[in-house]
Symmetry: C2
Subunit: 413 residues, 2 copies
């Protein structure tokens, strides 16, 4: 069996995939397998019992949003009774930042990979402060979610259609030359996104007041494009999945309790172990003792060759996640060691436009004892609070070792 | 006499100056000394006879715009008769990119330095293609100028007022962390400008169609913010001007024929010599033989510590001006050698957030034989054509030597 050949095939698909934002739809209408009593969440499968505070908070908030419960106890009862089911976003071609909780009536971005025909989905970004994805769920959170759903989403949907689709891969290529790494720093990408949509928003919106509010909401949110970017990376990673004999990691995701990976040549099997606490910078008044373990599907960015892997493109990110600009250079250099190849569309100016390290090779991770680097936000460990900082984290080595053992068994090596 | 003390005073003023975009007004109404029969132009003083092709083209276009002539011959006659007068933008607290021709009824941005109370002005940016500032003047150019004047400027004026003013210095600080150097690369800055204005444009504009057109015009123009940035730099440089005993260069400007400088401690005297042809990359079908000598007031950016001096912040600019990312690093490193100090607000992530080299010291330029580096666009040498490329250029050494001689004479050194 030729693993290198399989990995070449998988990474070529990942790199050649395109990712066009073609529309917005209700999760229930557009996400495959979505149903009335289902909530999607970040990371590998999880139960209420094993869920962390922010995941429980986000589930509660989503069920309040759906009008099914009014508090956390009722949410717990509904989920534990089995009346509401939980499944990973990743089982439905979807991804969500932090808790990633997506309920049937929420609007989601629709990304189409025009090269391989697959689609991917992600919910809308709420911005900063008290937000559902970090486990906050009070009236402030609900009000914003309703505004996004009732006011913003219908306009964005029409604006995207009016634009003829937005090439998120091209946007990312450009943003990496503007100091973004595409995961924790999406400052340039978010205003490139605003730039692409703004004329269409003005055209389709029914009132100038609404236009103004939506332009402000997108422009003031330096993570506005994170969700379409994640769905774009999901479309790329999915294109690389299912290649017989490939050791390329095609999923990395955390649910706030476990960190899980899946591998191109190992089908739908998850390899999981306890998620770690990120190291980074905390907002005033918070510290390590407040931090929840690593959470979110946003590691799909590193899986697709950006985020922590492209940190050298974003030296200014260290003001947010701690460290020196040289650490950003070192992070990308280290990731070349565990990656199978280099990206063709995502390049790093400081490295003379070398492609970003792309396609995490299970074999190299285990051989070198080097796990992927991940940039991430940090959630408070209790439900209802929200973000407390941002930093860096790595997955547990055990999951790569287990996956490699499973690979050896499956392929009789 | 303590030159270092004088230079400290001058550069502190330059660095501490603020630059708030407070409004837009007709040149005739807001620029000090502007009058009906006056055209402002880039660089040191020039006559029609000594003007280059793009300068003559821009003068012609501005006079057509004013309804005073219908072709180049008429423009020549009007200017040579003395009926229309030419004076440098720099004599009127103003700056203009490339030919920089500003006529009485054109709208200009108004920048206020709230620390020292001085104001600075610059015209509106036309975008790419056939544009007045590169010496094109046909109906396409006129149509765009009229649209800018009649449709865009009134809305931008109200939007700026509605915003309460836009801090261009803060915008620049941010843009330097997003891959801009602020002169030839204003990609991030221009969409930060769009982001700041967009909600206000939607609010004040009378039709959604106009809103959409203006958002597209700003968003599609990666130089949209260049003119406010130049006026901001002018406000900073002017704050540093007129410090007795200072060898800091406070003006560098080219009219397409001559390169001129002025020095803080030497009053209004220009030191000039023939401008050089930039070296760079040409658009398809053009080459060195088409290039006009260096032209424009945009060297005010380098004068204020950005542009070529901040190139290390913008490694991706080499795809536009030629060279390797390492050349961008080297350019900034070299400029530290001829600069008096480092900026406090403008920093370079790749240099561990070291301030940009700021305050060109006449003494160091002459002593080291190192002239400032300038990023620039390249105009076709004939009137009526437009931009043919972009590249790098340096001022002639002679003007620094002459200025130093004049300094020694004035101060009896």
């Amino acid at each position: 069996m030729n693993i290198d050949k399989a990995n070449t095939a998988a990474t070529e698909k990942m790199i050649e995939a395109r990712a066009i934002l073609v529309g917005i739809g209700k999760a229930l209408d557009v996400i495959p397998g979505m149903r009335e009593n289902l909530l999607l969440h970040a990371g590998p499968p999880i139960t209420w019992e094993r869920s962390s505070g922010p995941m429980r908070g986000a589930i509660t908030g989503a069920l309040i949003f759906e009008g099914k419960v009014s508090n956390e106890d009722e949410a717990k009862a509904l989920v534990e009774s089995g009346e509401i089911e939980l499944e990973p976003c990743h089982h439905h071609q979807a991804v969500g930042p932090m808790a990633g909780v997506t309920s049937p009536s929420m609007s989601v971005y629709v990304i189409e990979n025009e090269v391989h025909g697959n689609r991917a989905y992600s919910n809308l970004n709420e911005g900063y402060g008290k937000v559902l994805r970090y486990g906050a769920y009070d009236e402030e959170v609900q009000t914003r979610l309703r505004w996004m759903e009732e006011v913003m989403a219908p306009v964005l949907k029409q604006a995207i259609e009016s634009s003829g689709g937005i090439d998120i891969k091209a946007l990312l290529s450009e943003a990496l030359h503007m100091g973004d790494e595409g995961h924790n720093r999406n400052k340039a990408g978010s205003i490139l996104f605003l730039k692409a949509l703004a004329p269409h928003i003005a055209k389709v919106s029914e009132s100038s007041q609404t236009t103004s509010e939506i332009l402000a909401a997108l422009g003031d949110n330096a993570l506005a494009v994170l969700n379409p970017v994640m769905a774009a990376c999901k479309a790329m990673a999915d294109a690389a999945h299912g290649v017989e004999g490939s050791t390329i990691v095609t999923t990395m995701a955390r649910n706030g309790t476990d960190f899980g990976i899946r591998v191109s040549g190992l089908g739908e099997q998850w390899f999981t172990a306890p998620a770690q606490i990120p190291k980074g910078l905390y907002f005033p008044g918070y510290g390590d003792e407040d931090a929840n373990p690593d959470i979110g599907d946003s590691t799909i960015t590193e899986t697709a060759g950006i985020g922590g892997f492209a940190m050298a493109a974003a030296p200014a990110i260290v003001t947010f996640v701690s460290g020196k600009p040289q650490d950003a250079i070192d992070a990308s250099m280290e990731m070349y060691e565990i990656s199978f190849t280099e990206h063709k569309a995502f390049t790093i100016p400081a490295f003379d436009f070398r492609g970003t390290p792309t396609g995490i090779d299970l074999r190299k991770v285990v051989e070198l004892g080097t796990t992927p680097r991940v940039n991430t936000g940090i959630a408070h460990k209790r439900a209802g609070i929200g973000q407390v900082g941002a930093g860096l984290v790595r997955p547990p080595m055990a999951i790569f070792e287990e996956a490699l053992v499973a690979f050896a068994e499956k392929y009789g090596i």
